[in-house]
Structures are given as C-alpha cells and as structure tokens.
C-alpha cells in the first residue's frame, strides 16, 4: 500500500473496534484509567487543585511537543529544544525586567525561536548534515551560552502584566490550557487538510516521491523547523510566565520529555506517521504519571527511569507493529 500512511484515513474505513485501538484512543483510555487507579489509592490525586496544577504546569511541554512531532514526522529529530526554551524564556524575562513593552517581551521569543530553528533547518536540509549532530551542537551552544551569560542567576521582579499564564479566558479557562488546546487543534487541522501540512507527511514518508509530486522536501523541512521554533517560543512564554521567577536552567532532560511525548503520542520515528493530538495526549499522560508517582509514594527520582522505559516500549511496539503489518501485506 502507500508508503505515506494517512492518519485518520485508515480509521475512517476501519470497523469500530479498530478505531478504538488508535494511539489517540489508547492514550485517552490510559489517562482516564490511570487517574481512576491512582485516585482509588490516594483520592487527593483527583482533587481539582492537583489536576489543574498538572495541566497548567505541563501545557508548555504539550505545546513544544507539537513542533517536535512535526520534526519527527519528517524523519528528523531535535535535541536542542530544551536549551532553546531556556534561552527564550530568559530573553523574554530579561526584556520584561528591562521595561520593554509587554508585546515585545511576548513576541521576541517567538522571533528568536523561529530564527534559531530555521537556521538549523537550513543546515539539515540544504547541507545534508544529520539533525542529531546539528542539534547536539546547538544544544551545547545554547546551554553553555545561557549559563555563561546569566551566571545561573534567577530573574525576579517581573512586572505583573508580563504573566501571560495568569490570564483566564471567559474568566475560568487558564491561558496555558487554552493555548495548548487551540494550538493542538489548529496544528492538527492544518496538518490533516492543508496541502502544506500534508507535505510534512509526504516528506517524512518518502522524500523522493514527495519531490516527484511537486513538494520540495528541503523547503518543507526548513518550514517545519521554523514552525518548531515558533512553538518552542510559545512554550518558552508559558514556561517563563507560569511562576514569579525564571530560573536560567530548564528542567533537566526537558528535550527528552518533549521527544517522549511525541513518540509515545504515536509519531513514528521512521517518519511519515503521527498526529499532534496524540502528542498532546501523551504529554498529559506523562505529566499524570510523574504526578502519580508522588501520590503513590514513589520517589520522584524514578521519573526519568519511568519515562525512558515508556519511550523505549513505545518505540519497540511501533517497530514491531509495522513489521507485522508489512508481513501481513506481503502475505
């Protein structure tokens, strides 16, 4: 069959039980199931406060995972995004403290994010250097640069108007959650029905075929990296404005949490397959697991081990599933 698997296209024809077994549905079931189980062990887990904190504190990961999913769908990877979010958050906060207009403090990280990622996209697409090497180099440039410029100092005394995350839409939907939901839906619709969005899948599924059908894989790749930078900018804003201080270091291994969200969300690391709805659900699930560990009295130091196991298991399952499908197609 076609090398470019259309997300949703298969499920539209598939029987009901098949549609249930899609990655997105599995994730939704896992999110609810885990909440119920942990809630039985420790009812405080299900308190409105905890659930709200969980969403608020992790919306930026889901937003960053949207861009990461696009990058992975094209068959590439980016491990510099964690450091980039740190740089952009610090930039935005420093501007705010220096008294720049609020609009500037909100726009600057988006612009710089697009620029940095666009540059990496150009190197990957046009010079043909593997994304892992380019982004590994960029990771150390950004991380080293950030710490040596800020000296590890925290940014405090941020003006009140800066706190984007404090805004509530209609008086009850917190901004980070609204942004997460809207960004996911817009990106999903764009990737599903817009020609440029489809080009992302085409590039990842089979670049040569994409080229022959009039899609420029190079230009698509640069566009995807720029979009990824844009989402990283939004994520940085959410990260910067959720607390009263900005630490110059992002949570360690942030890039891996974001990659985990994408991969667990069903984005195939071989390119060409996956949806951002899946990655957002996976980001919520990961946040839920991390929080659940605390509520069932497991030390938070095990968080990364659980994440690593989760990503490994998903990747292996994905590869095995593809192999079985291919074997089935041959027969």
């Amino acid at each position: 069959m076609s090398a470019i698997a259309l997300p949703g296209a298969a499920s539209a024809r598939a029987p009901f039980w098949r549609r249930l077994s899609s990655q997105e549905m599995l994730l939704a079931v896992a999110i609810v199931g885990l909440a119920v189980i942990v809630g039985l062990v420790n009812p405080r887990f299900l308190s409105a406060n905890n659930l709200a904190d969980l969403l608020l504190g992790n919306a930026y990961i889901a937003v960053a995972a949207i861009g990461m999913s696009m990058v992975i769908i094209t068959g590439n990877i980016d491990i510099s995004v964690g450091a980039l979010i740190g740089v952009l958050a610090t930039l935005s906060g420093s501007l705010a403290v220096a008294g720049a207009p609020i609009a500037v403090t909100w726009l600057a990280p988006l612009v710089l994010g697009v620029a940095v990622m666009g540059l990496q996209g150009v190197i990957v697409a046009y010079v043909g250097i593997p994304a892992i090497v380019v982004t590994l180099g960029m990771l150390s440039i950004l991380r080293g640069g950030l710490i040596s410029v800020t000296g590890g100092k925290w940014i405090t005394d941020l003006p009140d108007a800066f706190h984007l995350a404090d805004i509530e839409i209609f008086g009850f939907i917190p901004m980070p959650v609204a942004i997460m939901v809207v960004a996911t839906i817009v990106a999903a619709v764009w990737m599903r029905w817009w020609p440029l969005g489809r080009a992302i899948y085409a590039t990842g599924g089979n670049p040569e075929a994409a080229r022959l059908s009039g899609v420029s894989p190079h230009r698509t790749l640069v566009l995807v990296f720029m979009l990824h930078g844009f989402f990283a900018g939004i994520a940085a804003l959410l990260f910067a404005t959720q607390m009263r201080v900005i630490q110059s270091t992002t949570p360690s291994g942030l890039e891996f949490t974001i990659i985990t969200a994408s991969v667990v969300g069903g984005v195939s690391i071989l390119g060409g397959v996956g949806t951002v709805v899946g990655s957002t659900l996976a980001a919520i699930l990961i946040a839920e697991i991390t929080s659940a560990l605390v509520f069932i009295n497991v030390s938070p130091f095990w968080t990364h081990a659980v994440q690593g196991t989760l990503i490994l298991a998903t990747v292996i399952a994905d590869i095995e599933r593809r192999r079985r499908r291919r074997a089935g197609a041959v027969r």
């Binding site: 010079v127 593997p130 590994l136 180099g137 150390s140 040596s148 490994l312």
Partner: protein, 323 residues
Amino acid sequence: MTAVATSRRASRARVFLRHETILAAMLVVALFGLGLFNDRFLTVDNLLNQGRLMTEIGLIALPMTFVIITGGIDVSVGAIVGLCAIVLGYSWKNLGFPLPLAVVCSLGVGAAAGFANGFIITRIKVPAIITTIATLTLFRGLAEGISQAHSVRGYPDWFYFLGQGDVFGVPTQLLVLLIAIVVFGVALDRTSFGRTLYAIGSNEMAARFSALPVDRVKLAAYTLSGLTSGLSALVLVSRVTTTRSDMGMGYELDAIAAVVLGGTSIFGGSGTIWGTVIGLVMIQLLKNGLALTGVKGDATIMVIGVVLIASVLIASSLQRRRV
C-alpha cells in the same frame, strides 16, 4: 583486482594525508599559540595533567569511532557513565560488596547497557539515534532512582591510584588510554572485525550479502561502547573521589565532537582511530587553553558545540568538492 586495491590504498593515503595533516598542523599551531599566550601552558606538568583529564572522554571516543564508522551513533554513553558510577558506589556502600567486586559489577553493568543498546538496534531494528536517546533517559533515570540523590564518598586509598596515581611520572589513566588507543587502532586497522566495521558503514546491504556478520559486529561495537563507558566511570570516580548520578552528563557531546573532528564521516564508512586521537587532543587543548585565558567552563561547552557543527560543515563541503 590488485590494481584496484593499490589505487584505492593510494587514494585513501591521499585522503589521510589531507585530513590528518591539516589536523596535525592545526594542533601544532594551537600548541605554540597557546604556549605563547600563556607560559603555564607548555609545561610538562600541565600537559600530563591534560592527559589525565582527557582519558575519561578518550575511552568513550574510541568505541564511538567504531559506532560512527558503522553509520550509527550512541548518545547514551554519558548516561552509562552516570549509571556505572552509581552502581559502583551503591554496590560497595549500600550492598556491602568488596570494592573489587563492585568494580566488576560496574563494568558488567556498563557492558550490559551497551549490549542492550546493540540488541535493540540490531534485533528489533530501532534506529540507533532513537534507541540511544531512549536509553539515555532510562540509564540516567536508573542512576537517579538507585542513588536517590545520595553521593558516595570515602573509597579506600588504593582505589585512587587509577585516577590520581602516577606510573614513572605518567598519570595512570593516561597509560590506560594509551593501551586502549593501540588496541582499538590495531583492531580497526588490522583485523577482519575492523574491516567489517568499514564495510557495514559503506553499504550495510552489500556487507550482509557478502556474508559478513553484520549484526554481531554492530552488537560488539555498542557493547564495547558501554564497557569503556564503565571504565571511564571508574577513572572519573577515582579521580574526583565521589559518585553522583549526574556524572558524565554531556560526555556524548565531547566524544562525538572528538570523533567527527578527527575526520570520521558522520555518514559512516570512513574514519580512523588516529584521527579521533588528534580530535580528542584538540578538544582538550581547546578546553585547557580557554580555561587558562580565564574562560569559564560553561562557555567552553559553547565553543565545543561551535567546533562540532563547524567541523561537520567543513568536512561535508570538502567531501562535496572531492566528488
């Protein structure tokens, strides 16, 4: 047949000459430049001390050369260093193992971690990048989970011989590194194992059809990578006298930078141990030189990132011109 072989050898010699001569010339210039800049640099003490500091990355960069020659990559090495360090400290302090047994355990865990990488890559066919990114998180997570953020100190004195001792005035671990360089160099250049690494990197399908043990050789390369990461952890613990779960963080960057700077193609199929050694020395000189001129450690990470990207860019533009 022989004509092809000689011409291939001749052309390879030319490539050798180009890359390694350029690197070696840069190395000499850097040495004297830094020496002129700072009179503390070109002293025997300083150079030997740099050799001491170079070993931890060096031991990892050697098998990394093998891995990258096969067209793979291993970004989990730094996490393996952390895990092995923690296993050493935990099994000695908390489980009460005698230290020699703890050392064996630590090396065993390193090899097992590398084997796990290789197994997932060769048997389940998960791309090396993704496998090692996932195991990076897993191994670092295991180190954090086992240690619970406790560090272990107070090792017996004899253990510090590896990381702080001297043999005839030469740092112990530098001797270990030199032996490893010779072993890895001979293995790559003079054995069928080494030739198979090149064959896999040039054309894996062709290597398979030539009945070469592709999977077994790749598995061995990743296992070696884990094993020497364990050895690197021992050297590191012995040098800094403590174990922490964040040990070895970012080592993958230094090791990959050394290998790529040394002329090994990131696409696989070409590269030498000698190139990697020169790349390694260059990076250590860069770090030392920057530190002596008052640049802080974090800015050094930044410079290494620039060097990594720049060297790949230059290498790929040179390659393009040659083709």
